[in-house]
Every structure is written in structure tokens, then in C-alpha cells.
């Protein structure tokens, strides 16, 4: 077997062909950050339009396109990929693995996401973006003129496939790739919550896949599922969407919960309080997450029995979530709390998220939901949980793991400016929206009339959004000015878990010797009960690693091309795309690839370099 890969490749080829979970993680982070800025820009444009009543900064049509793309981009192309970035980089390190279970599929998942995201955004230049909201209710979506919705359907289908693949990969990685001694109940909570989130992905995304398939067949091939005159029914779409859609929001929040568990324990310098309760609560949230989807459909006419059942089931989620909140508070209790930027975001999360969570419970009151539904009260609720939960989690994780991932530390002073401005801007933007909703402002309105008392709060809300933008720019500045800040990047926070035992930058094979895990918070245990070094569970020997390959990129590219064939019903293009995809899959299954070995000498050299460096 060959021991090293032939030739030196250009940097671009290296990234295009990589199957290293760390590089893929970084690409997810970069892609997600790009789409976050894009989705944020779309939000700002909407907020400018809503700054004054009857303002004509944007046409109603453009507004609808922006609002659809903002929601879709933020959920599918920003929040989820950013989380996937952390999951990719951190999970193998936290469980003491050299790689994920399916490195090839991992790369494939990333490229599918990226090509799907690009596809969706090409709609801007191809006659108009989708305009039916991120929920794309039929028949508005199935009859929407132009190709916007076709881009929506195919873009999400392609990137959704990537997500599903990624989810399966994480599941198997966690189950099969853990280092010796790392039992399920010794796993760090970030890994645990990502694991549960991956289960949700596995079961939620197929419903979306079918929903999108039906919508595509209806728009492009004249199917009649949603055409009432042909015996169709429009509520089927809503069920399929929300059977996916509700678990989706927990797919977003659970990994973020995991990040907070790591950050809070690290900066309180305390073991997480009630570890097994935390695990159990996560599982319950995941399970209940599948039982409540119809709370988005209280007004659609399912009947009072259905509404009552779904209302009560929804409220029940407050209980396990509350368990987590109180466990975090008790983790802080008696600790030595350090106010680093990472921890500020985690601390800012607790009150912000609880405010969003309790409005969620208010929304779950079905009879009152008849007032709340589709108003700005809902917009306020979900931005509180999403920004106060997911986005804060992403920022917290970014500051926390940045040194490990990028090899330098972000500036703390700028970080704190960023935090405070973002926190204030966020509450300013969304707190007043609760009132707007109850005062009669529906959501998804391109503007509002001037004599209805909605002017002041909308203006305040937009000001808050500007503040968030300033904060975000400070973050960007921070990323660039801090590049030289390379001291103490191996274990800067006195970490507790295995990722902090690796050298920075993390070598390709992660661990020269797979560690032996003896307790929860394995590293902390060795630091304070042992000699500060992980015990090895295997002798030093050659390490087997998978080979780089361009095939994932090509498979995704083929689907990207084929999508245009669908959108414009152009069969030659469709077949070219499919041939590329299936051809590459065929090559993959026929050409055996057994990876390569990293010789023990090189690992020894690395180890010495690490000790002297």
C-alpha cells in the first residue's frame, strides 16, 4: 500500500478534494458565515423598508422575495451549516477519534450543501427569488409565476440531501468511533446534543424531501396533489413541511445547547450540574420535538381535539427545557465565573432564550394562538429563541473554539464590544415586536398603514437591527486584526474535554495514540486527578487515513447541473448532470480506495516538534 499521496497539490485542489473532517468543518464555517452575512443583509433591507409606514424603499414583490430568502438562507444555509462546522471539527476530537465514520460522505454532504445554497441564490439573477415565505404554503407556491419557487425546491432538495448524509455520518461516528473508555454516559454534552440533533435530521428531513418532491412534480410536471379542482388537498403540504419544520428548530437549538454546556462548565470551572439529567432532557426534547408539529397549524381547521392535543404536547417541552436551564444555573452556582467573550454569550443566552421560550409556551395556548398566529408576536418569539439561542451559541462556540480551529485567539476587548452591541441591538429589535403583533401587525407584510399606531415600534426595531449590523462588522474586524494573536492556543481556557489535549494546529490524524478515557471531562480528570496527560490506549504505530478525492465535488456538481435541467425542463442538461453524478458514483464504487498509512516515524517527528514548539 502506498504510504503517502503522490505529488504536491495546489492549495485549491487540496480543499476541493479534502476528506479531513477538520478542513470540512472549516469549509462549513466559512460557507455558513457567508450565508449568514447574506441573510443578515436581507434582514436589514427588510427592516429599512419597515422603518417608516408606507415606505417605498422596496416593492412589495421584492419584499416578499427578501423575506423568503432571509428565512430560508438563515435556517438552511447559515445556522445549520455553521453548527455542522463545529460538529465536524469538534465531535471527532471530543470522542477521541481520528476521523468521522464516513469521510467520503462527509465531503459529499458539504459540497451538496454548498451547491444547493448557490443554486438557491442564483434565483436572484434568474428572474426573481422565491416569494412564498420559507414555509412555501401551497397553492401560493405551487402557482407562483416565474422560476423562483423552482430554485427553492431544487436548492433545498440538494442541500437537504447533504444535511441528511451529514446526520447519518455523525450518528455512526458517535456510536462506532469513540475512544476506549468513552462510554455514552461519558460523552461531552456537545457531542450528545449533536447526536440527538442528528437523529432528528434523520427522521425529519425525509418528510421535507417528499414535500419538495411533490411541489416539484406539481410545478414542473403538472401533478395535482394540491389542486382542489382535481381532488387535491392543500393541507398535506403543511403537514409535510411542519413534520420536518418543527424538529428542524430543535435541530438548530440542541447543538447550541451543547455548546453552552461546554462553555458554561469551562468558565465556571465546574463539572456540568446534573449530567445525566441533561442527557435525558435532551433526548426527551428530541422525542417530543416530533409530537408537536401541528402547533404551527392551529388556525388551519384541524378541529378542537387535534388542537388541544397538540397544544398540551407542545407545552410539555417546557419541562425538559426548564431542566436544562436550571442545571446550567446550578452549574454556575458555586463556580468561579470568568467573563470571557465566549462565556458572555453563554450567559447572555440564559435570559434571552428563556424569554423566547416562554413566549413559545404562550403561542402553544391554542385558543390564544388564534390571536398570535402569523403576527409579529411569532416573529418576536422565534428570533428570541433563534438569535438568543442558536446565534448566541454560534458566537459563543466561535470565541471558544477559535484558537483550536484557526490557530489564533480573537481579541477579547473587541469581542466584548461585539457582545454588548449585539445583545442590546437584538433586544431592541425584537422586544417591541411582541407588542406590534398584539397591536395588529401581521407578519410578512411589505409595509403598514400610517394611522394604525405601529410607527414608533417599527422604527425602534429597525434601529436595533442597525446596532446588530455594527456589532457584526466589529466581529469581522476582530477576525482580521487578531490574526497575529497566536500565544497559548493549545488549551487557552483550561479545557475539560479531549479536543484541548490535541496540539494546535491539530494534526491530520488528530491523536498520535488514541486516548484512554477514565471519566466525564476526560482531560480535566487527568489534569486534577492524574498527571495532566491522557493515557494512551494503543501503542504508537502507523496510522491509517483515507485518501483525498475529487469525487464528492463532482457528484454535487452533477446534481447542480441537473437541477437547471429540471428548472428549465431542458432534458439535455438534465441528462448531462445526471450522467456526471451517476458516473462519479460509479467510479467511486468500482475504483477501490483503501486510503494510506502515515508512518510512525513521521508521527514521532510531529510529537517531538510539538514538545519543542
Amino acid at each position: 500500500m502506498s504510504t503517502a499521496q503522490a505529488g504536491s497539490k495546489s492549495v485549491i485542489m487540496e480543499w476541493l478534494t479534502t476528506v479531513d473532517h477538520k478542513k470540512i468543518g472549516i469549509m462549513y464555517l466559512a460557507g455558513g458565515a457567508f450565508f449568514f452575512a447574506l441573510g443578515g443583509l436581507e434582514a436589514i433591507l427588510m427592516r429599512i423598508q419597515l422603518m417608516f409606514p408606507e415606505f417605498s424603499f422596496l416593492s412589495a414583490q421584492s419584499f416578499n422575495e427578501l423575506l423568503t430568502m432571509h428565512g430560508t438562507t438563515m435556517i438552511f444555509l447559515a445556522a445549520m451549516p455553521l453548527l455542522f462546522g463545529f460538529m465536524n471539527f469538534i465531535i471527532p476530537l471530543q470522542i477521541g477519534a481520528r476521523d468521522v465514520a464516513f469521510p467520503f460522505l462527509n465531503a459529499l454532504g458539504f459540497w451538496l450543501f454548498l451547491f444547493g445554497g448557490i443554486l438557491l441564490n442564483i434565483s436572484w439573477f434568474a428572474g426573481g427569488a422565491p416569494d412564498a415565505g420559507w414555509t412555501a404554503y401551497v397553492p401560493l407556491s405551487s402557482t407562483s409565476p416565474g422560476h423562483g419557487l423552482d430554485y427553492y425546491v431544487l436548492g433545498l432538495q440538494v442541500s437537504g440531501l447533504g444535511t441528511l448524509i451529514g446526520g447519518i455520518n455523525f450518528l455512526v461516528t458517535v456510536i462506532n468511533m469513540r475512544a476506549p473508555g468513552m462510554s455514552m454516559m461519558r460523552m461531552p454534552l456537545f457531542t450528545w446534543s449533536s447526536f440527538v440533533a442528528s437523529m432528528l435530521i434523520l427522521f425529519a428531513f425525509p418528510a421535507l424531501t417528499i414535500g419538495l418532491l411533490l411541489l416539484m412534480l406539481e410545478r414542473l410536471f403538472d401533478a395535482q396533489y394540491f389542486v382542489v379542482a382535481s381532488g387535491g388537498n392543500v393541507i398535506i403540504w403543511q403537514h409535510l413541511f411542519w413534520i420536518f419544520g418543527h424538529p428542524e428548530v430543535y435541530i438548530l437549538i440542541l447543538p447550541a445547547f451543547g455548546i453552552f454546556s461546554e462553555v458554561l462548565a469551562t468558565f465556571a470551572k465546574k463539572r456540568i450540574f446534573g449530567y445525566s439529567a441533561m442527557v435525558f432532557a435532551t433526548l426527551i426534547i428530541g422525542f417530543l420535538g416530533f409530537m408537536v408539529w401541528a402547533h404551527h397549524m392551529f388556525t388551519v381547521g384541524m378541529g378542537p381535539v387535534a388542537n388541544a392535543i397538540f397544544a398540551v404536547a407542545t407545552m410539555a417541552i417546557a419541562v425538559p427545557t426548564g431542566i436544562k436551564i436550571f442545571n446550567w444555573l446550578l452549574t454556575l452556582w458555586g463556580g468561579r465565573i470568568q467573563f470571557t467573550t465566549a462565556n458572555l454569550f453563554a450567559l447572555g443566552f440564559i435570559p434571552s432564550f428563556v424569554m423566547g421560550g416562554v413566549t413559545g409556551v404562550m403561542l402553544a395556548v391554542s385558543a390564544a394562538n388564534y390571536q398570535f398566529h402569523d403576527t409579529y408576536f411569532v416573529v418576536a418569539h422565534f428570533h428570541y429563541v433563534i438569535i438568543g439561542g442558536v446565534v448566541f451559541g454560534l458566537f459563543s462556540g466561535a470565541f471558544f473554539w477559535w484558537p483550536k480551529i484557526f490557530g489564533y485567539r480573537l481579541n477579547e476587548t473587541l469581542g466584548k464590544w461585539f457582545f454588548w452591541l449585539f445583545l442590546i441591538g437584538f433586544h431592541l429589535t425584537f422586544f417591541v415586536q411582541h407588542f406590534l403583533g398584539l397591536m395588529g401587525m401581521p407578519r410578512r407584510v411589505a409595509s403598514y398603514l400610517s394611522n394604525q399606531g405601529l410607527d414608533e415600534f417599527n422604527f425602534i426595531s429597525t434601529m436595533g437591527a442597525f446596532l446588530m449590523t455594527i456589532a457584526f462588522i466589529i466581529l469581522l474586524v476582530n477576525i482580521f486584526v487578531s490574526i497575529g494573536n497566536k500565544d497559548n492556543v493549545r488549551d487557552p481556557w483550561d479545557g475539560r474535554t479531549l479536543e484541548w489535549t490535541t496540539p494546535t494546529p491539530v494534526p491530520e490524524y488528530n491523536f498520535a495514540q488514541t486516548p484512554l478515557v477514565r471519566d466525564l471531562d476526560a482531560f480535566w480528570h487527568e489534569k486534577y486527578e492524574g498527571d495532566g496527560k491522557m493515557k494512551a490506549s494503543e501503542p504508537l504505530e502507523d496510522i491509517h487515513m483515507p485518501n483525498s478525492t475529487i469525487l464528492p465535488f463532482i457528484i454535487s456538481l452533477g446534481l447542480f447541473i441537473a437541477s437547471f435541467g429540471f428548472i428549465y425542463l431542458n432534458y439535455p442538461i438534465l441528462f448531462v448532470g445526471l450522467i456526471i453524478t451517476f458516473g462519479a458514483m460509479f467510479v467511486r464504487s468500482v475504483k477501490e480506495d483503501h486510503g494510506h498509512h502515515i508512518p510512525v516515524d513521521r508521527i514521532k517527528r510531529d510529537l517531538e516538534g510539538d514538545h519543542h514548539g
Binding site: A60, D374, A446
Partner: protein, 325 residues
């Protein structure tokens, strides 16, 4: 400013919903206070002080605490869930019998049919079709059935009741009552296209006698309004109307149903659901319909189609379409 806010309920249904909102809000404030108190205490007490390097005790957990913070939320949620389930059933009961009285209540049945981007109100018991303004009698149970002609819409009158969706192919029902006379603002709350934000309507509650009068006149509008006397400007306007508009708009018995029924158009407070009612706006609306409501099913009328003189006549005719007084 009309009655628009759900925070200022004007009828029993909105009241019921308001008290649920209030109840849930109190519970949530209690939760927030508890969480915030612990939070602030912890942050102050256990923050790292300069020079402090102690390693805190690595506590594993506490069974008693776990039980406490599992049971208390369950109790709080039950306090909320029970009234909610009861109200959900009450609101879904659109039969007109009240259980205590066992007799038929006064009620009016209205079919609300949503169109992009306007509202049609049918009164099947009165044989009336109205558009944009929904007249109702006070102190009477209003039974609404909801349908849609095109995409999904949602019918919301915050001050009187919550909303229910107008779903194509499906009939939903709801009810409410308005004890006080007044005009209540209604809105469409389901994204239904570019002019979704302008899909407003009015609920006009008048006392039952006035309502009966209105219904009678709607069913048989006075000839003088619908067929103005020969030779008047309005009669010329009627001609234009018969040429260009009648295929979509009905006045009295005859006319299409693609657009709102205009029998009582002269009594609208607003044009097309939102434009202040005056002649200038009316002319603008007819000239630039697609500017005012992009995507609406009514064409804009240029000078070639309707010249200024005809337009003036048309407006005169439309202004005269009144059924009351």
C-alpha cells in the same frame, strides 16, 4: 383609528382570548422572575474576583432539586392547559344552541370568501352578497364560515376574535359577538401574494334594527341609486360601468363576481380596503390599480379606455351607490 388591537378586546371571544393571554403572561412573568433572580444572584456571588484561583468543588447534581424543577413547571403548565383546552372547545363550537338555554340563539350566518386581495361576504339567510365591509348586528352571535377562491388567506379581527384560515377546498368555521356598535379593523394574516399587506377589511357592527334595514336594502337597493335618472351625469357613468366593469362587479342583482359587489360602494369608508375614500383616490385607484395593489385581478384603466369625462361620470355614479338613509 379603528379598533385594531387584540389588547383591547371588544367582545366575548376576544375577551376569552385576552384572559388566556393574560393568564399565560402572568405565569411566564413568574417563571422569568424566578430564573432572573437565581441568575443575578449567581452572577454576583460567584463571579471571579481578582487573584482568585481556587478550584470550585466539582458537584455532580442533586436529586431533590431535579424533582422540584420538574414538578413546579408541570403544575404551572397544567394551570394553563386546562382553561386552554376548555376554551379551545368553546371556540370551536359553532352550533347556535347554547347549552344552558336549550333554545336557538339569535344568530347571523356569514360566508367569508377570500380572494386575492379582497373579501366577499355572503349572507345566505338574507340572500345578500357584500364586499369589503362586513355588516353585523350587535349582541348577536355571528357564525362565520370561511372559504377561499384562490390561495390561502386568514381572517382576523383582533378586537373581536382571533383568526381562522381561509383554505381553498375546505370550509372552516368560527364565531364571535360584538356587544358594542363600532367599526372594527380586520386583516388578512396569511401571505397571499404581493398585495397581502393591503388585504384589509372592516367589520361594521350596528344595532340589530339597523342591520335588518341594511340587509333589506342590500337585497333590494333603491332604483334611483343603481339606475340613475336619464340625462344625469351619473347615468352616463352607469353606461361606462355597464361597458367596462359589470363583467366583474355586481350592482344589485346583476353583474359578475370576480370583484367586490359595489351595491353599497358609496358607503365604504375606504376604497379597496385601505385607501381613504375621496374622489381623487378613487380616480387614482381606477387609473393605476396595478400600482396600488400589484397582482390584483383588476386592470388599470388608461385614458384611451376611459377618458377623463367618462371617468368623472363613472365616479359620480359610484359615489351614488348607496343603500342606507
Amino acid at each position: 383609528m379603528e379598533n385594531l388591537s387584540a389588547l383591547d378586546p371588544q367582545g366575548p371571544v376576544a375577551d376569552m382570548q385576552y384572559s388566556l393571554i393574560a393568564l399565560s403572561l402572568y405565569i411566564m412573568i413568574f417563571v422569568l422572575v424566578v430564573v432572573f433572580l437565581i441568575y443575578i444572584f449567581v452572577l454576583i456571588k460567584f463571579r471571579e474576583r481578582p487573584g482568585d484561583t481556587h478550584i470550585p468543588k466539582q458537584v455532580h447534581g442533586n436529586r431533590t432539586l431535579e424533582i422540584i424543577w420538574t414538578t413546579i413547571p408541570i403544575i404551572l403548565l397544567l394551570m394553563l392547559a386546562v382553561p386552554n383546552v376548555m376554551d379551545t372547545f368553546t371556540l370551536a363550537n359553532t352550533s347556535v344552541m347554547t347549552e344552558e338555554e336549550e333554545e336557538e340563539m339569535d344568530h347571523v350566518h356569514i360566508e367569508v370568501i377570500a380572494h386575492q386581495f379582497w373579501w366577499e361576504f355572503n349572507y345566505p339567510d338574507h340572500d345578500i352578497v357584500a364586499g369589503q365591509d362586513m355588516y353585523i348586528p350587535t349582541d348577536t352571535r355571528i357564525i362565520i364560515s370561511l372559504e377561499s377562491e384562490d390561495v390561502q388567506h386568514s381572517f382576523w379581527v383582533p378586537a373581536l376574535a382571533g383568526k381562522q384560515d381561509n383554505v381553498p377546498g375546505i370550509t372552516n368555521e368560527m364565531w364571535f359577538e360584538a356587544p358594542n356598535e363600532g367599526v372594527y379593523m380586520g386583516k388578512c394574516t396569511e401571505l397571499c401574494g404581493p398585495s397581502h399587506w393591503l388585504m384589509d377589511f372592516k367589520v361594521v357592527a350596528v344595532d340589530p334594527d339597523a342591520f335588518d334595514q341594511w340587509a333589506e336594502n342590500m337585497a333590494e337597493p333603491s332604483e334611483t341609486a343603481t339606475h340613475p335618472e336619464e340625462g344625469t351625469v351619473a347615468a352616463d357613468g352607469r353606461e361606462v360601468f355597464q361597458d367596462s366593469c359589470i363583467s366583474c362587479h355586481a350592482v344589485g342583482e346583476d353583474g359578475g363576481a370576480t370583484g367586490p359587489n359595489l351595491t353599497n360602494f358609496g358607503e365604504r369608508q375606504v376604497i379597496a380596503g385601505y385607501l381613504e375614500y375621496n374622489e381623487e383616490n378613487l380616480e387614482n385607484w381606477l387609473r393605476d390599480t396595478q400600482e396600488y395593489k400589484p397582482g390584483a385581478d383588476m386592470p388599470s384603466y388608461s385614458q384611451e379606455q376611459i377618458d377623463d369625462e367618462e371617468m368623472a361620470a363613472l365616479i359620480e355614479y359610484l359615489n351614488g351607490l348607496k343603500i342606507l338613509d
